[in-house]
């Protein structure tokens, strides 16, 4: 074990040395030349026929536990709008105002360490690309569930621009290898994703002179008005929602865990939405099979289903719409209380009388709220429940994204994850005052 630890540390230090050398050339690159290369990398990844996309599709599902259909569609939707042009526009929006007038310059961090988490490729792709835009070499530790994405991204960068390819290094070490972790976290800028405990632990290891950008766990929900609880509106709602739930097996921070139905007769509307959503999830299962799950995850689903059965048996208006095994579960609740969410396509549908109740129900989760899929408020009966008013309430809660169902898993490249700008948190500036 000690031998392995020492080897990992030696490899890490060697990678850092190579990045220090590569940095020299990176600093000499022109803005346009650098950006052009990174745009070409993005375009490579957008192309479903590029060898990098095909390799990710071939290697990722087994390691991450997703079906290949999920990875294929998830990448297709996710990368749809992540074009070179989108990258340029995002940079223009975030950096140009900072640099306007020539009195300020980007001062690239000598090294950015990126600690990846989870098994969804999209955030990993972006996090490993952005520091290069700012001329900072990147040291990446992949997540144990996804050792593929960062490695392939590095390969694609090297293919497009060999010199730039030398500015990204992928390392691996066990999470309990303190010496490796300490060396890894010694970078001038550290970006980390993970559960809140991990983010807390990493942040405590960061010194005052270092930059730290942490992305903790988040969750998303859907909010549905009466325009989407019947007829064509309902059909469109469950089509979109089922996709949001099925993609990445509900493991992403943009996966909805709960659906809140605001309706004059909310209980009846909840039943309609629940039944329709269950039917649609059954279709999605054929199109996008859920990945295998471990016994603990299946036990959590089984437990929550039984618990809902017990509440139903106690006389509560609770109903279950589930697959035979644990493939998907829709629980129609009779209140808006938050209960455990076992993930892996397990969703609860809650009744609400109005928007005020919605805000109260979401308040305990405000700090974790990422995305909200909103539908059915176009012809709202009440001015207080109009789409604009609800959106304002959600913004005040801290939701970082409000969109229509079916689009949750396709955030634009410029999406301010956790409410933060995309590239600005990674940038360091020097103000150049006139003598």
């Amino acid at each position: 074990m000690k031998h392995r630890t020492d080897e990992d540390l030696a490899r890490l230090e060697l990678a850092k040395s190579r990045l220090a050398v590569a940095r020299g050339a990176l600093l000499e690159r022109s803005d346009e030349e650098l950006l052009e290369s990174l745009c070409r990398v993005l375009e490579l990844w957008r192309d479903p026929n590029s060898r990098w996309r095909r390799r990710l599709l071939a290697e990722h599902p087994d390691r991450a536990g997703f079906s290949s259909q999920i990875v294929r569609l998830g990448l297709e939707l996710g990368l749809q709008h992540w074009s070179g042009q989108a990258l340029r526009e995002m940079l223009e929006r975030e950096l140009a105002p900072q640099l306007a007038g020539g009195g300020r310059a980007v001062s690239p961090f000598p090294l950015t360490s990126v600690l990846l988490a989870g098994s969804i490729p999209m955030p990993s792709l972006l996090q490993c690309l952005l520091p290069l835009v700012l001329r900072s070499p990147i040291l990446v530790r992949s997540a144990s569930r996804d050792p593929v994405t960062a490695r392939l991204l590095a390969g694609s960068i090297a293919e497009v621009d060999a010199e730039l390819g030398r500015c990204i290094e992928i390392v691996s070490f066990r999470s309990d290898n303190r010496r490796c972790l300490s060396s890894f976290l010694a970078a001038d800028c550290v970006v980390a994703s993970g559960c809140d405990d991990t983010i807390g632990e990493v942040s405590r290891a960061i010194g005052a002179g270092q930059r730290f950008v942490g992305y903790g766990h988040k969750l998303s929900v859907a909010v549905v008005g009466q325009g989407a609880t019947r007829g064509q509106g309902l059909a469109e709602l469950v089509s979109g929602l089922s996709l949001d739930i099925a993609l990445w097996d509900q493991l992403g921070c943009l996966s909805p865990l709960a659906v809140f139905v605001i309706d004059d007769d909310a209980s009846t509307a909840v039943a309609r939405v629940g039944e329709a959503l269950c039917a649609e999830l059954a279709l999605r299962q054929r199109e996008l099979p859920r990945g295998d799950i471990d016994a603990a995850s299946a036990a959590a689903i089984s437990h929550e289903r039984s618990e809902a059965e017990m509440r139903s048996a106690s006389g509560r208006r609770v109903s279950l719409h589930c697959s035979e095994r644990t493939l998907f579960s829709v629980i129609c609740e009779d209140d808006a209380v938050w209960r455990p969410a076992p993930l892996h396509r397990f969703v609860r549908v809650h009744p609400l009388a109005n928007g005020g109740e919605l805000i109260a129900a979401l308040q305990p989760l405000a700090r974790q709220l990422a995305g909200v899929a909103l539908a059915g408020f176009g012809d709202s009966r009440s001015a207080s429940d109009s789409s604009a008013v609800l959106t304002q309430g959600l913004v005040r809660l801290g939701a970082s994204r409000v969109c229509r169902p079916g689009r949750l898993q396709a955030p634009p490249l410029a999406w301010r994850r956790d409410g933060l700008p995309v590239v600005l948190p990674l940038a360091r500036f020097s103000d150049l005052e006139a003598r």
């Binding site: 998303s220 921070c253 016994a295 603990a296 437990h303 039984s306 618990e307 106690s314 969410a341 993930l343």
Partner: protein
């Protein structure tokens, strides 16, 4: 013959709990379990309706294995009891922060509860403490029942302390803080008097104690024959330790060998508890054992059927000591059977997710999140 009515079941159970040597006695367990099922199904409306949705009646439950199990989460949502509320003597509640729903076990008698816990402690935590041995000093790293009147752990350890502890026994958590100085003095006094120690408490409290000892650079040496019993997880706490690491640190700092450190697996919703086997079978594999009036089934959560061999399954416990609520409990824990070389079932091993294990996604189970609020 099926015992009729709860009183008859409890009388037979108490007699079983007071027997000298433990005996699995499958026939007796099955008979009592089915009798208790019949009583609980008729006395608890919610449970009866739940059984109806599962198509289970007294007539078609041919074996205790057919009895429907209630999920532990249900104890947070409803009062599952088979007696009138005015007869309630004690309510134990699961731990949790304000605003969180807490599971509740309602009891109208403590006789069975105490008989079960005492007999199990004797057998599995103090198997080496015959009548001739001096009572140990029991130091408790949990709040006393005065501070935590709803904690089943505090109640259990208080019973233990009163029945078995030497005068040097006591509670070492006061107002939420481990009294490190007092505990150190007690350990040293036990050593001076050649009195064995039993340190019992939550894993989280032991972590705090270890941190305090490390800060002071103190290594203690508990007298020979001492033991540690720890229980509970770290959910929502500030520091997590893998159990192997915790045991290594406890052994190094307190001088108690790892083979005398016992994990207790219990739930507020249960009347009985399970303990590591290390004290009654030091040479065998570490696994969980419980009293003969309990049974553990490991269920494939996908199919609902019992798993075969040593495959992982969801833990379902049938605990006859739960006479006043529901005896069959479904947890969300996962375990596997520990088998002998000949394939005989020796006990079970919990397969909890190790602290720090990576999640697959960036979403979060709402219960984990709420635990931190």
């Amino acid at each position: 013959m099926i015992a009729e009515g709860r009183a008859a079941i409890e009388a037979e159970l108490l007699a079983w709990m007071r027997e000298g040597a433990w005996c699995e006695d499958e026939e007796r367990f099955d008979r009592l379990a089915r009798a208790l099922f019949a009583f609980q199904r008729s006395s608890c409306t919610t449970y009866r309706r739940f059984c109806e949705t599962r198509g289970r009646t007294v007539e078609n439950v041919a074996s205790w294995r057919d009895i429907p199990a209630v999920p532990t989460g249900a104890f947070k949502e409803m009062r599952l009891r088979c007696f009138a509320s005015e007869r309630t003597q004690m309510v134990f509640r699961t731990s949790g922060t304000s605003g969180q729903r807490r599971g509740e076990l309602h009891l109208d008698t403590l006789e069975i509860y105490e008989a079960s816990l005492w007999r199990t402690l004797q057998e599995l935590l103090f198997p080496d403490l015959g009548d001739s041995r001096r009572p140990p000093a029991i130091r408790v790293l949990a709040p006393s029942p005065l501070e935590a009147p709803e904690s089943s752990l505090s109640y259990m350890l208080s019973c233990l302390l009163q029945r078995l502890g030497s005068p040097r026994s006591g509670f070492d958590i006061v107002q939420g803080t481990v009294r490190v100085d007092g505990l150190i003095a007690a350990i040293q006094a036990a050593g001076d008097n050649d009195e064995s120690l039993a340190l019992c408490g939550t894993a989280f409290a032991f972590v705090h104690l270890l941190e305090a000892l490390e800060k002071r650079g103190i290594e203690l040496h508990c007298p020979e024959g001492s033991r540690i019993m720890e229980t509970g997880g770290f959910k929502g706490r500030s520091r997590e330790l893998p159990r192997a690491e915790l045991y290594a640190l406890l052994s190094a700092r307190l001088g108690v060998p790892e083979h005398r450190i016992v994990n207790q697996y219990g739930m507020t919703e249960l009347g009985s508890q399970f303990y590591d086997s290390v004290l009654i079978d030091p040479s065998g594999p570490r696994r969980k054992l419980g009293p003969p009036w309990t049974r553990v089934r490991l269920i494939d959560p996908e199919s609902g059927r019992e798993v075969a061999g040593d495959a992982a399954g969801m833990v379902v416990i049938h605990d006859l000591a739960n006479t006043g609520s529901v005896a069959a409990i479904q947890s969300a824990d996962v375990a596997r059977r520990v088998l002998s070389d000949a394939g005989e079932q020796l006990g079970f091993e919990l397969l909890g997710r190790e602290p720090g294990a990576e999640a697959r996604g960036c979403s979060i189970a709402a219960d984990s999140m709420l635990a931190r609020e």
